[in-house]
Structure formats: structure tokens, C-alpha cells
């Protein structure tokens, strides 16, 4: 089997495994099956990236040649995102066992089945070269995600899930409307084919409207300010493991879809001209950076604080995109990857606190630095990454973002990026202050350090944050290849 033939299995394996999982009883087997499926999927994705970086891979389902059949078309950009998604799932799963046992004690078969569905949906979105197929996978992953969020033990999880459902459906519908418009105008759903046929018809308001719908639809899924309002509740009330997984993957895939349409399907020299995309994205990105960080500084719940921080981090990525240059896009892809690393580590640390204490409110973390030093040190170190301290992954992406801004002479953006980094210092500091500099009140129960099953995966991610802060070959290489693939029209046949 060549890598091209193997590639679709990174989507199919979790999909099939989810059916198996749904039928499995107990607590061990669903998890074990999921773990195997996810690892297989991640390994395939890991082999796909180097191959796709050299030549665009294409696989036609059922031997129906594209554009009629469904095609998987993979270049450096989607291979990079696919590896991120599958890799994050593989890293998060060992951590999941304990946490899920506690937070979702019953019907774990269904829970893990939903997780696998969500994963295969996300991977399907990423790898597919067919617009309608992307929509279908988007719906699969979204529906599964709503189910996952609703598993949260807090009653508000249901409402959060419901809100996300409404907004997610609006987003998916917008995407569908956009795709429909494109189909009407070109008669094709294949992305590469679309890119080829669009130039003839693109001076119509229908195509322009299609672009607008797709951007808003994906902006919603991406939680770009001001379309982010579903995110904080969803992240806060979902089971810890779901938050860990979503924070690293879901918004990233949405960003990828948006980029794929804006850059490959509509060429950037058209899409950034016909709509003031550059300005709009820059304003929304900066606003997201500020509003997210600002709100995060005042949150009493750490999970919620990190959720708002995610809104800010999405702002950095959107800002990188708005610069419309190879280095800007590279910065966006880099931050996409690095943010997944740091946020996953942070949410894992918080999830570990929840496992031990049962709450992630700031006042319940008081004094934990002494009793749970490993957990909170992991949090602090991952926090350094989100602040952007040198030798961490966060520094690398901010460095590239700043270079991209300077490259276009946008001095003020540099200032804004540094100021929002200082705001990150403040919200991370609040946790450190509570953990180490405040006393535990007598009423709060004493807790010990968390079990190793939670600590080891968390520390692996923390270590990755530092590893990718020092050895940047994989991340910078992958991100640059991805950016070049998008800007260089890697999809055109």
C-alpha cells in the first residue's frame, strides 16, 4: 500500500472504531479501542505529512475519478493540520482514562464513540478535497461534539451544548449556503475543480456572497470575535477531557477550512480584493486578542479564563492570516500548532486540579502549590508558553508573527502583540498567586498530589512546549510548507 492509499484510513479507522466502541460495555474496553484507533490514525497522519510536503497526494474514493467522485487531496497544509488533530488526540487519550472515569462514570462506550466520531469528522474535514464532503464531515464532528459537551457533570453543560448547537448549526448552514452558491455557479463541488472554474464567474455577486457566507460560517466555528460567544460556556462546562481535546483541535480545523477557501478556492489576489478581508480580519484579530485577554484577566473560573484566552489566541492566528504573506500565514499555522500544545497542557493541568479538588474556581486553587506542586508547576510552565517566554513554543509563534508584522511595516501591531502578552502574564499570574501565595482556608478539604496517570501526560505536553520552543525544525518547516502550499496554489491540478 502506498501512503496515498493509506491516507484515508486515518479518517476511516476512528469512524469504524466508533461503531465498535458504541457497543462495548464497561470502562476499560471502550477506552482501549479508542486509544488503538487514535494511535493508528496519528501514525498514518505522521507518515502523510512528509509525503504530502513533497507532492500533493490525491485519492479517489471508489475509483470514481474526481471531480465526479469524492477526492481526498492532501498537500502540506492539510497534512500539517491532520497531524496536529490526530497527534493531539493521541496525546490526550492516556490522560483521559482517569478523568473520564470520574467525570463520565456511566455509558463510556457511547462517550468514546462520540469522541471517535468527532475526531474522524475533524480529520475528514481536513483531508477531504470535496466541498460537500467537508460539510458532511463538519456536521458529523459538530453533532458528536454537542453530544460530548452535554456529558459535562454541571447542569449548565446542557445549555452550553444547546447554545453551541444553535450557533454551530448556523455556521454549518452558512457554509452550506456558500458551497451551494458555488455549485450553482460552477457545477462542481471538487475544490481543485472549483479553483479552476471560478475565475470565469467570479465577478458576480453570487460568488462574492458565497465568500461572505463561508467566512462568517467558519468564523463562527473558529470563535473569531465577535462570533466567539458560544465558546466560553462550551469549554467551561464540558467534561475536562472534551475541553482538552476541543481546545487543541476544533477551532484549528475551522481556521484551516476558512484558509482553504479563501486562499485556494478563491485566489487570495481576488478574495482579499473583493471584500476588505485584510482589514476586517486584522481588526477582528486585534479585537479578539484584546477582548479575550482582557476578559480572561477577570475570570474567577480557570477553565473559563483559559477559554477566553483561546479567543485571544485565535485572534493572533487571524491576525497572521490578515497580513496575507507567506511569513504571516506561517505564523498563523505555527500558532495553530503551538497554541494546541500550550492550551492542551493548560487544560490538562486544570483538568487534573478538577480531578483532585472538584472545581476549577480560582479560590479553590488557593494554597494548592504546596499540596499539588507537580500539577501547578506544569500549569505555570505551560503558562510561560502562552505568555511567550523564550525557549517555549509560544515565543516561536509570536516571534514569527512579529516578524510578519514588521515585514509590512506595521509597527503598531508589534506593540499590540507585546501588550497582550503582558496581559497574559497577568491572567497566568493570578493562578500562580492563588496557588503559592494564598493560604488554603480551613473549610476547604486537604488534597494530595494527583495520580501519575494524569501527571505524566500533562508533563509530556509541557515538555513538548519546551521542545518545540528550542527545536523548531518540524514546526517552522511544516508551517512554512503549509503557508507556501496555500499561497502557491498547491490545489490547482
Amino acid at each position: 500500500m502506498t501512503i496515498t492509499e493509506l491516507m484515508p484510513f486515518s479518517v476511516l479507522v476512528p469512524l469504524i472504531a466508533s461503531l465498535v466502541c458504541a457497543l462495548l460495555p464497561g470502562r476499560f474496553w471502550p477506552w482501549a479501542v479508542t486509544l488503538v484507533a487514535v494511535i493508528v490514525s496519528a501514525v498514518i497522519a505522521a507518515f502523510t505529512l512528509p509525503a504530502a510536503a513533497q507532492v500533493t497526494l490525491s485519492y479517489a474514493f471508489g475509483n470514481w475519478p474526481p471531480p465526479i467522485g469524492i477526492e481526498y487531496r492532501v498537500d502540506a497544509a492539510n497534512a500539517f493540520v491532520a497531524l496536529l488533530v490526530a497527534g493531539m488526540a493521541a496525546v490526550a487519550l492516556p490522560w483521559a482514562k482517569k478523568s473520564v472515569d470520574k467525570e463520565v462514570p456511566e455509558r463510556q462506550g457511547a462517550f468514546y464513540a462520540l469522541f471517535l466520531l468527532a475526531l474522524s469528522g475533524l480529520l475528514g474535514i481536513t483531508l477531504s478535497g470535496d466541498a460537500f464532503n467537508i460539510f458532511v464531515f463538519l456536521e458529523i464532528s459538530s453533532l458528536a461534539t454537542y453530544g460530548l459537551i452535554a456529558h459535562g457533570s454541571d447542569r449548565r453543560a446542557l445549555l452550553a451544548s444547546f447554545r453551541y448547537l444553535i450557533m454551530g448549526t448556523v455556521g454549518a448552514t452558512f457554509l452550506l449556503i456558500g458551497i451551494g452558491f458555488l455549485y450553482i455557479m460552477t457545477g462542481t463541488l471538487n475544490l481543485a475543480d472549483l479553483a479552476e472554474r471560478l475565475p470565469e464567474v467570479r465577478d458576480t455577486s453570487t460568488v462574492r456572497a458565497a465568500l461572505a457566507f463561508i467566512i462568517v460560517g467558519m468564523g463562527l466555528k473558529l470563535a473569531m470575535l465577535p462570533l466567539h460567544l458560544w465558546l466560553p460556556n462550551a469549554y467551561t462546562y464540558a467534561p475536562s477531557f472534551v475541553t482538552v481535546f476541543l481546545a487543541g483541535t476544533a477551532t484549528k480545523v475551522a481556521l484551516y477550512v476558512m484558509l482553504r477557501f479563501v486562499f485556494t478556492v478563491f485566489a487570495p489576489d481576488w478574495s482579499f480584493v473583493v471584500l476588505p478581508l485584510s482589514t476586517v480580519l486584522m481588526i477582528l484579530g486585534v479585537a479578539g486578542m484584546f477582548a479575550g485577554s482582557w476578559v480572561a484577566m477577570f475570570q474567577p473560573n480557570i477553565k473559563r479564563m483559559l477559554a477566553y484566552s483561546s479567543v485571544a489566541q485565535v485572534g493572533y492566528m487571524v491576525l497572521g492570516v490578515s497580513l496575507v504573506s507567506v511569513i504571516g500565514l506561517s505564523a498563523a499555522f505555527l500558532h495553530l500548532f503551538n497554541h494546541a500544545l500550550m492550551k492542551t497542557a493548560l487544560f490538562m493541568a486544570v483538568g487534573t486540579v478538577i480531578y483532585q479538588v472538584g472545581s476549577a474556581r480560582l479560590k479553590d486553587v488557593r494554597g494548592l502549590g504546596r499540596t499539588m506542586p507537580w500539577t501547578l508547576t506544569a500549569f505555570a510552565l505551560a503558562g510561560l508558553s502562552i505568555i511567550g517566554v523564550p525557549l517555549t513554543a509560544g515565543f516561536v509563534s509570536k516571534w514569527y508573527l512579529i516578524q510578519a508584522a514588521l515585514d509590512q511595516g506595521q509597527w503598531f501591531l508589534v506593540v499590540l502583540i507585546l501588550v497582550t502578552s503582558l496581559m497574559a502574564v497577568i491572567y497566568i499570574w493570578r493562578v500562580i498567586e492563588a496557588a503559592w501565595f494564598q493560604e488554603r482556608s480551613i473549610k476547604q478539604p486537604d488534597v494530595g498530589e494527583a495520580p501519575l496517570a494524569l501527571l505524566i501526560p500533562t508533563w509530556i505536553l509541557v515538555a513538548l512546549n519546551f521542545y518545540f520552543g528550542i527545536d523548531t525544525r518540524l514546526t517552522v518547516g511544516g508551517a512554512t510548507a503549509a503557508a507556501e502550499a496555500l499561497l502557491g496554489g498547491g490545489m490547482t491540478p
Binding site: R163, M167, V170, F174, D203, L229, L275, L391
Partner: protein
Amino acid sequence: MITSDWLHPSLVLIAGTLVLPLLKGRAMQAWMVLLPLAVLGTLWMAQPGEHGQMAFLGMELVTGRVDELAMVFGWVFGTVLLIGAIYALHVNDRVQHVAAFLYGASALGVVFAGDLITLYVFWELMVITSVWLIWRRKTEVSFNAGFRYLVIHAVGGVVLLAGIILFQFETGTTRFEQIDVDGPAFWLILAAFMINAAVPPLHAWLTDAYPEATVTGAVFLSALTTKTAVYTLIRGYPGTEMLVWMGAAMTLYGVTFAMLSNDIRRLLAYHIVSQVGYMVTGVGLGTALALSGSASHAFTHILYKALLFMGAGAVIHMTGRSRLSELGGLYRYMPWTFVLYLIGGVSISAFPLFSGYVSKTMIVEAAAIDQRAVIWLMLVVASAGTFLSTTLKLPYKTWLGGDSGLQPREAPWNMLLAMGIAAALCFLIGIFPGMLYALLPGAVDFNAYTMSVFLKEMQVLLFTGLAFCLLLKYVGGGPKISLDVDWLYRRGGPRLVGAVGSAIITTDRAIRRTTLEHLARLTAHVEKKHGRDGKLAKSWPIGSMALWTAIVLAMLLTVGVYRG
């Protein structure tokens, strides 16, 4: 960072420090003395040249640049780490020891950094490690002071990073040589260096925090942060005219505020500002003699200032008091501390035969050769002021003067030993300045022991003493604190922020309320019209989410559709 001919002293120190928490009692004490010795040994073996290159983000990092200038600071940092470690042997707080050694490792890292990225990393590490030397005093006052210290340096770090990024963007390199660009990069990096050098008005972090540090921590603090900044200034900004004046102003600012201080370590902290002022002036003058003067003054200053802080610290350790107005008459109980402190005092005052004399006079002489009359006079006034408060007022009010009724015991042996080593070095350098001059980059064409230098210095000092004796009753002091620039962020800032913040909150609330009211009306309207059961409509967040979606879509569509 390791090759066959290069072992980074910071690496040695960091690796050794990691072992420290595992040790106890005597073993820990022995390790604390061995570690600085190992660092000195590493320095001894260091070969001139560039070592430890690494690639990072497409730039070449040079983690080990060994030249004479770096070695001057390397030697004195290693020495003061040894002295400080001995002084702290009795302390049974591992966090402090670990912090102190890591802090020393970061300072060494800055000094040997051949590029700005490496420098920045160690620069920040210095802040994160040193703040624990303040916090471990474990009082609320020291926590707050340490926190202010942290915030100021965090801001300074961002300024430095911004400068480095611009510098790299404009020159395409991050090598750390003389900063030779125009525009913001030059000023940002300079500002960051000046914050760490405690140049007024950016100095208040020092005089605010150092007096609140632990007794032993203050010794390290007094030696490292400001002197790494002096090193970076010598390397990056020699001959910057502005620094001549800022430095001279610094010397006077420091001595004036020292006169107002009642806390003994705050008084000494103001004299750090003042003494670093001499070095900054030397950097600004930029001649070979002036730069040699700055480097050697940094060297001698570290030793005598550590000695002074050790003496003051011993008093605080034994009496639990730190205010001049509560001390007095201690010479009967702590005579050794007294005498050793006085050696530090005459060294900082630049008495002949003591270390300050052979370095400070070099800077003053460089100013004279440059024909800078006003600067020369300012520096001489500062000399008088230094003698006045560190060597006359402070010891007089602490050990002599009115009896405070305190009857402490003499400081423990390890404190005295550390002070003894520092005092011996002050004396040795004073007698054999050639040993110090031999370390400096370039030959030093200066002899402090000429009749004319000797005469001027002695006259200034002795007649300062005369004035002190005659005017003793007018010398200020008393149980008061004096305001400084830190007022701006301790009282002024919070007041301003409070006012602005409450204004923002009120506005924000008002905006939200009106928006929500409008939304409520909108939903009510929809509800009435469509006759839904109302549950969905009542959920404001979904309403507002949808509203935002509609707004963004409408914006884009408007532009898109009406464009053609």
C-alpha cells in the same frame, strides 16, 4: 553549550544547583561553598573566543563569548557568589540558596552571551530567580515590594524584547556588539538596560525592593542585577553622550536620597544608584580610560557593596532592627562587624589604599581629561556625599551615637568570615591595583597613587568629615520614610487607575444594560410576532450571538453585493 574546550559557567552552576535540594546539613553547606569554587575553576579554564553556538529560528546564537570584558565581570561574579554563599551558610532555607545560585548563573549567562537572544533569555531568568530572594523574607511588605519589582522588570523585559526584535529586523543580526542603529531599536534597548542599571527615574524598583530582601539575599541582589546592566552598557553603548549627564545626575540623586533614608539597607541601596552613576558616566565618556574605569569600578563596587550589605545585614540579623533611629551603641557587642563594615565604608568612599580609590579616581580623571568641568564637580560632590552617609552617618548612628539599649551578640562566624574575605579583597585591590588592571581589556594608562590625585581625594574626604562633625545636629533623619518615584505606581497610579477603571466599568455596564434592553425588546418583539413558546427567545446569549453573526454577515454581504 559544552565542547571540549568550553564549559559554560552558568551550566555548571545550574547543574550543581539542581543537586542542592537533595542535600542536608553539612553536606549542603559544603556544596554551597564548592559550587562557586567550581564556577571560578571553570572561568580559569575558559579560553578566549566564541563557544557554544546554536541555531535558533534561523539565527545563530553564541552562548559563550569569552573576552576580557566578559571575564572581568565573570571573575567578580564568581567571587561574590562565593562570598555570598559563605555569608548565607547558616540559613536553612533551600529555596533561597537555589534562587541565589540560579540568579548568579543567569547573571553569568548575560555576561557571556554573544547575542541578544541569549542575553534576553538570561536577563529574564535573572528576574524570575532573584525575586525569590525578596519574597523569602516572608513578610507582607516584602511580598508586595517583590511583586512591584517583578512587574517593573517584566515591563523592562518586554521593552528589551521589542528593541531586540526591531534591532534584528533592521540589521539582520542579533550579535551583541555596540548597538549601532538609529531609531526605536537603539532607544528601546537602551531604556531596558537603564531600567536594570537603576537610572533615575527608572530606579525605584531597586530602592523599594532591596531593603525588603532577606538578609543574605540582598548581598547577591546588590552585586548582580545593576552590574550586569553596567556590563551591557559598556558593551552596547560606549560614548553615548546622554549617559554622561544621566550618570552624573544619578550620583547626586543617590547621595541626596541616601541622606533622607532611615533604613540602613535603603541608605545603602541609594548608594548603589549613586555608585552605578559613576560607571554610567564612564560609559558615556566612552574613552578607553573611562571604560576601564567603569569596568574596574564595577569590579570593586561589587566587593565593597557586598561587604556593606553584609555588615548592615549582620546588624539586622542580630538585632532584628533596620532603622537608624532605633540603633546605636553597638560597637561594644558587634565590634568585628563594625570594623569590617568600616573597611567597606572607606572603600566605597575611595580612601587611598582601599579598592574604591583605584577605580573611582579613574572615572573622575577621565572626566577631567575630557575637560568636563561641571561633570567633574558633580562627581566630587557625590564623593563627599558617599563618605558622609555610608561611612560617617550610618556607622555613627549604628555602632556609636546614642545607646539604643540593644545588647546583641556578635554575628556568627560564617558571616564574619565572608565579610573578612570581602574586606581583604578590598584592601588587596587598593594596594595592588595592578592585579585588577591586568584583567581589563586594553592596557591601563593610569596611576591612582600620584601626589595630585592623592591630595585632592584626601582633602575632599577629610573636610567632608569636618563638616559632618560640625553640622552633626543638622543632619536629617528620624523615623520617617521619604517618597520617591515609586510613589507614582504605589499611590499615584492606583489612584489614577481606580478613577479610570471605575469610569470604564460604569460605561461598560451602561453599554451592556442598554444593549441587553434593546435585545430584550427585540426578542419580545419576535416572540409576539411569531408566537413561539418563548424559551428559545428568552435566552439572551443566543440572541446576541445570532445578532453578531447577522451583523458580520451583513457587513461582508453589503460590501460584496454592492461592489459590482
